[in-house]
């Protein structure tokens, strides 16, 4: 029973991914004949254009093109960047760890801080602390992340110049060891990670707070109090674990938003991740790179959702019982 449920979820994810791959194929063909972009001089001769079309395989019928494309995609061969002339996969491989580092740290911090704030606010419902935390998180939730980023740069990199405004390491420095390089990266991470955290914080806070408020009004909490457990213990051992469940779903659903945020935050901070890669690819009309990053982002969202489903399966007994 439960195995079938899991298989169903995995199958649905697989189908979505296949749909994305098909959609991706047509999306980038709708944008027009790539040779008009490739033939930079407007007056390339017909022979040159024919050669380009042959090189890129777009002289074949659509079905043939699609088969080529599907095969290449499965082999992670997304073609060659028109700008850097390196394979798209190697560009993505170089950028992916930076995005994971930024997004991972940001999400981790946002979850920890956001849910902690949610617990604090829920246990002090209606008090000044609650109002303050609510106001703060609504502000950071509502503010566009690039705006937060620019404000952070203005304050911490310009007004009081104590932190670097962008990039992943100090440009032009030769590092004597990986430790000093890692330190430089840590220093450069502070502002973008802060922006990322602030962007995500609000949602975690709001969900955790309302979820905690619900749990705290349940009968079993009153019972736990009645048997003499301290307030702290009731909160930590009994209320929080139950309130955490919605957070898991949120983390997964949030992944799409995180990807969007990563693009703007990485651009604002010149962080060399997938976001900046896509942004530059848009500017340069580097369609192969764009196609690749698009696919990676979509796959990320789909996998994150699948992961949440699976995690939920183990966390929430009600799912298994179904």
């Amino acid at each position: 029973m439960s195995g079938r449920w899991l298989a169903g979820k995995a199958g649905a994810a697989m189908l979505t991914l296949i749909f994305v791959i098909i959609f991706n194929f047509f999306l980038f063909r709708v944008m027009g004949d790539p040779t008009t972009q490739l033939a930079r001089l407007p007056n390339s001769s017909p022979e040159e254009i024919a050669k380009l079309r042959a090189d890129y395989g777009i002289d074949k019928p659509l079905a043939g093109q699609f088969l080529d494309y599907a095969g290449d995609t499965v082999r992670l061969d997304f073609g060659v960047s028109q700008r850097s002339r390196e394979t798209v996969w190697s560009e993505i491989k170089a950028a992916l760890p930076w995005t994971l580092l930024l997004v991972g740290t940001g999400t981790l911090l946002a979850t920890l801080i956001g849910s902690w704030m949610g617990v604090v606010a829920a246990t002090r419902r209606g008090q000044k602390t609650d109002d303050g935390l609510l106001g703060f998180s609504l502000l950071t939730y509502a503010a566009p992340e690039y705006w937060i980023g620019i404000i952070l740069i203005l304050v911490f990199a310009v007004a009081i110049a104590i932190l670097p405004a962008g990039q992943q390491v100090t440009p032009g420095v030769e590092f004597s060891s990986w430790i000093s390089e890692a330190l430089s990266v840590a220093e450069h991470m502070i502002l973008p990670v802060t922006a990322m955290t602030l962007m995500l914080l609000g949602q975690y806070f709001l969900i955790m707070r309302s979820s905690m408020v619900d749990v705290l009004t349940e009968d079993f909490i009153t019972v736990k109090r009645a048997i003499g457990l301290s307030h702290e213990r009731v909160i930590r051992r009994h209320a929080v674990p139950n309130a955490l469940l919605p957070l898991v779903t949120l983390s997964a659903i949030q992944f799409g938003a995180i990807v969007g945020g990563a693009i703007t935050i990485e651009t604002v901070f010149s962080w060399p991740g997938l976001g900046e890669l896509s942004f530059n690819a848009i500017n340069d009309k580097d369609f192969p790179v764009l196609e690749g990053t698009f696919l990676v982002f979509s796959a990320g969202v789909i996998l994150a959702n699948l992961a949440a489903d699976i995690l939920y399966f183990f966390l929430d007994p009600r799912v298994q019982a179904r």
Partner: protein, 616 residues
């Protein structure tokens, strides 16, 4: 979930992290010091480094496919041309060729090479390399084709002699052959499909200039070190680093903080402000490029399907526009005074050929009105002037990516409006504007615009490229104004074959005069190179190319000026930024440590006053 367990783990991790952070800044200090010694100047054993910051870096150094302007910064120090440019006045100077001789019919030029020169890998530089470069790079290189169209034959009777024969005399063969001479023994080994594909050259980038690229880390750094086989004067710096920053703001901040010594592309909007620093000197110098107001001039027989307001082809209308537009004001407002007001189609940068045109359209709105009145364009108060139902109302397209051009377009519209000519400014994408100008119907050009503002950039020294843009031959190719004047075409062909500067200058003067009378373009501004450097780091800078009023290092054109500059005495090009960062990290570590300690302490305390526990 056992939250208490989680709490303890978090506390331990935090404490560990804090300890690590406290311990590590010491390591960071070490690295800073080693960086310092690597870059400190003065001592004989130390490496002196010239650090140049930029916001855009090359994507690939492969000369066959690279398109970025930044590549030329690097290539021009790594490679020579067959004939280089003099830093004095940009006239022809020895490059790979030591000397040359022009035959009487001016169609055969014999170049002599220095038998002792070597590539940076020790191989001799021979005529074979020249032949290979001109034929292969000149034929296949995206940014190098177009220079060799006149060449019929390249012969190499011996290793030190190259004989180039052309269809008709072509002055560009000396002084305008902008094709780098690259080593055949390196590139000739690679199939052409690969060279024009995803080939990435091996490093060090074998070259003939004073420096060669030894590291290319895209997005971070291009490092150039001295060419071991270099025989010219010893360069002042051991190493040049091009350092990539995230954006223009970051580059300029790095200059102010002393992280870099020079910036080769300052933004017009910050040009004024950056000079406030007493240690920074900023320089605006002329460049071979301009920003023009272009008109759709395509004659009916060449472009039967062109779409535009025909009033734009009335020469008196264009003359009125030329008189009505205050080019000084365009420069002062749109370029913030950093550019130079335009004066015809030949930028003053081309010193050897430039002369202020006799008809230079000084600002004169009254005369503009008079011209329009005389041509029968009636002023009826508020609306644009009209004649037989036609209106003086033009669309003015401008690229969305250029705030400077948009500003210029608004100014043109405002000033032309004063004399009764209406311009509707339309901000469009580059693609859209390109599409409008290169549109074709039935294989014939069919431009679909009235006017637009865009720019062109030419070659150093030889003005033929810029002049060619207005020839009839370029219609359907590079011509964007579709100007066609047989007299101009004849003069163009003639001047292109004349090697004598004075004689050529006279012909070019006539060409400029023709386009001024016809108002083929209204050249609004001549665009500048905006550069800045730290006077406490670099000494010996003499503006060159041309001497006295050119740019700091003759960027992208000649490596000669770089040989003359050197580290300023007493300068230490160390980056003192890391000290600050160590401080910040210590601060963070302290916060984390205290936080972790509090966490542990509170957990402990809670445990001690735990009530009697009932397991659930």
């Amino acid at each position: 979930m056992r939250l208490r367990g989680v709490g303890t783990i978090v506390a331990v991790v935090l404490a560990g992290l804090a300890a690590a952070l406290v311990a590590l800044p010491a390591a960071a200090q070490d690295s800073t010091e080693s960086t310092d010694t690597a870059t400190t100047t003065g001592g004989d054993t130390d490496t002196s480094v010239l650090r140049i910051g930029w916001a855009q870096d090359p994507q690939t150094l492969n000369p066959f496919v690279a398109l970025d302007e930044e590549d030329f910064n690097v290539w021009s120090m790594n490679w020579d041309l067959l004939v280089n440019f003099s830093t004095e006045d940009l006239s022809p100077a020895p490059g790979i060729a030591e000397s040359w001789e022009i035959s009487d019919d001016r169609k055969t030029i014999t170049f002599k090479l220095d038998p002792n020169r070597k590539w940076s890998d020790g191989e001799p530089i021979t005529s074979k390399d020249v032949k290979y470069s001109l034929e292969t790079l000149g034929g296949e290189g995206d940014v190098f084709s177009g220079y060799t169209s006149n060449i019929t034959k390249i012969e190499t009777p011996d290793d030190q002699t190259v004989v180039i024969t052309t269809k008709k005399p072509d002055a560009r063969i000396v002084g305008g052959l902008f094709i780098y001479i690259i080593p055949e023994h390196v590139y000739g080994e690679v199939p052409i499909d690969e060279l024009t594909g995803s080939y990435q050259p091996d490093l060090p980038l074998v070259g003939s200039g004073p420096y060669e690229v030894t590291e290319f880390n895209r997005g971070r750094i291009v490092r150039m070190e001295r060419n071991p086989e270099w025989q010219g004067p010893e360069p002042g710096f051991d190493e040049i680093q091009y350092i990539k920053y995230g954006n223009q703001d970051a580059v300029e901040r790095a200059l102010r903080l002393g992280e870099v010594d020079m910036v080769v592309e300052v933004d017009p909007s910050t040009f004024e402000r950056i000079q406030e620093d007493p240690n920074i000197e900023a320089l605006s110098s002329p460049s071979p490029s301009y920003t023009q107001l272009a008109f759709n001039l395509c004659p009916e027989k060449l472009c039967p399907d062109a779409e535009f307001n025909p009033a734009v082809q009335d020469v008196s209308v264009r003359q009125a526009i030329a008189y009505a537009v205050d080019r000084d004001r365009v420069n002062a407002i749109s370029a913030r005074g950093t550019a130079f007001p335009g004066s015809g189609i030949l930028p003053s940068f081309y010193e050897a050929f430039y002369e202020v045109p006799e008809q230079n359209y000084p600002l004169d709105p009254e005369l503009a009105k008079q011209i329009l009145d005389d041509a029968g364009w009636v002023d009826n108060g508020e609306d644009p002037r009209t004649k037989d139902g036609e209106e003086l109302s033009f669309d003015l397209a401008v690229r969305s990516e250029s705030p400077t051009n948009i500003q210029a377009a608004k100014l043109v519209a405002e000033m032309a409006g004063e004399v009764g000519i209406e311009f509707n400014v339309q901000v469009v994408s580059v693609d859209k504007l390109t599409e409008q100008t290169v549109r074709k119907v039935d294989g014939k050009p069919a431009p679909e615009f009235d006017t637009f503002i865009w720019g062109w950039g030419g070659d150093p020294y030889d003005p033929s490229f810029l002049l060619s843009l207005l020839t009839t031959d370029e219609i359907g190719s590079l011509s964007d104004g579709f100007y066609s004047n047989p007299e101009y075409d004849a003069l163009y062909t003639e001047q292109a074959g004349i090697f004598d500067t004075a004689e050529r200058k006279d012909l070019i003067k006539e060409m400029v005069a023709l386009t001024q009378d016809d108002v083929a373009y209204v050249v609004l501004t001549e665009d500048p190179n905006l550069q800045a450097y730290r006077t406490d780091r670099i000494s010996g800078i003499e503006p060159s190319c041309p001497a006295g009023k050119g740019d700091l290092i003759c960027e992208q054109v000649s490596y000669q000026p770089l040989l003359a500059i050197e580290p300023a005495s007493g300068s230490s090009s160390s980056s003192d930024d890391d000290g600050g960062s160590a401080g910040v990290l210590i601060g963070i570590a302290a916060v984390v440590l205290i936080g972790g300690a509090l966490f542990v302490w509170r957990s402990r305390r809670r445990k001690s006053d735990e009530p009697l526990e009932m397991e659930e």
